[in-house]
């Protein structure tokens, strides 16, 4: 809000810059920066709105913060805003990551690069497991959700079945179960 009490107009360029900032700052994850930039610095969203939009983003396929960026772009500047959000959030990191890929291709064979990458991989796997554990902390203490999680892990991870088949069976069952219990 400025002094006249009017909310400031948020244009496509602002949206591009905000999401480029979030995206590039996001070493090892962007959620922290999304909150910092959108809620604390630019005040485009309240805390409550942020959580609501994020929950919505989690329901939709794809990266959660990316979905959030699309919603905010659309809300403030329509389709232009959507493209601005996309270009900021994905476009800039796209170029950076390609630059890294070129370096990788050139130096991949060097022993030092190899050993550094193997250390990084070991950590990256650990971060992924930690991510899964944190998500699991909020599950209800009941065997049913754990069973669905275990079946998903076994089918896709251990048995390497195609995801589409596993989800086609598990997802409707899981949603129906939680729907019946939630009522």
């Amino acid at each position: 809000m400025d002094e006249t009490g009017q909310p400031p107009k948020i244009g496509a360029l602002d949206i591009f810059l905000a999401f480029a900032q979030i995206s590039i700052s996001g070493f090892g994850g962007v959620l922290f920066w999304a909150h910092r930039v959108l809620v604390e610095q630019r005040r485009w969203l309240s805390d409550r709105e942020f959580v609501d939009l994020l929950a919505l983003g989690q329901l939709l396929p794809g990266p959660n913060v990316f979905n959030l960026s699309i919603m905010i772009g659309d809300r403030h500047a329509g389709l232009r805003g959507v493209f601005a959000a996309m270009a900021g959030f994905m476009g800039v990191p796209f170029l950076i990551v390609i630059g890294i890929a070129m370096l990788y291709q050139r130096y991949e064979a060097l022993p030092l690069v190899q050993s550094g990458l193997s250390g990084m991989s070991a950590v990256a796997v650990g971060l992924l497991i930690a991510n899964g554990i944190k998500m699991a902390m909020v599950l209800p203490r009941h065997w049913r959700p754990w069973l669905f999680g275990l079946l998903a892990f076994a089918g896709v991870g251990a048995l390497r079945w195609p995801l589409i088949g596993v989800l086609a069976v598990l997802a409707p069952l899981a949603v129906a179960t939680s729907w019946r219990r939630g009522r």
Partner: protein, 175 residues
């Protein structure tokens, strides 16, 4: 790489990202299955490298999808997998946001979220499993992984520091 292969890559990733509820790490096992096991376009090691590099790079972690595309087919592959990643996400979000953005706590939405959460967790751990199997670590690699899990779940440390420590430990021959 043939044009038909790039189209196949694009279409498969398009289908996967339409199903990526709970984050893009949930479809990683199937991406791996498609490009490494089914087609042999890249090795499991290259796949794991792409994932590790994307974690270290500035930008969202999902950029590993772009890197996998790049490793399979250069610029064309990178563009194909990146577009496949963002198109379904954007379309679904716009449709959903315009229809019912006001009510994320509607009973059906809640049932879907709660029902799918454990599956997303199972798939996230499946992704970790696939990555572990792709890199030939000895016990020191596993120790680094376990240490990371402990530190990352117990502290709020920025993950980048851990990745940097991993790279240094690797270069020093510790991992």
């Amino acid at each position: 790489m043939e044009r038909a292969d790039i189209l196949a890559l694009f279409l498969h990733f398009l289908m996967l990202s339409s199903m990526a509820i709970g984050g893009t790490q949930t479809v990683m096992p199937d991406m791996h299955r498609f490009v490494v096991d089914a087609h042999g376009w890249i090795t499991g090691k290259q796949f794991a490298d792409a994932y590790a590099l994307a974690q270290a790079a500035p930008g969202p972690n999902v950029m590993y999808v772009t890197l996998v595309g790049w490793q399979v087919a250069g610029w064309m592959g990178a563009v194909a997998t990146t577009l496949a990643l963002i198109i379904p996400s954007t379309v679904f979000t716009l449709m959903f946001a315009r229809v019912s953005a006001r009510n994320p706590d509607a009973p059906l939405g809640r049932a879907i979220r709660r029902g799918l959460a454990p599956i997303a967790i199972g798939l996230t751990l499946a992704s970790a499993w696939i990555l572990v199997r792709s890199v030939n670590h000895d016990w020191r690699g596993y120790l680094a992984t376990v240490l990371t899990v402990v530190i990352a779940t117990r502290t709020g440390i920025n993950p980048l520091w851990l990745i940097l420590a991993g790279a240094l430990a690797g270069m020093a021959g510790l991992v």
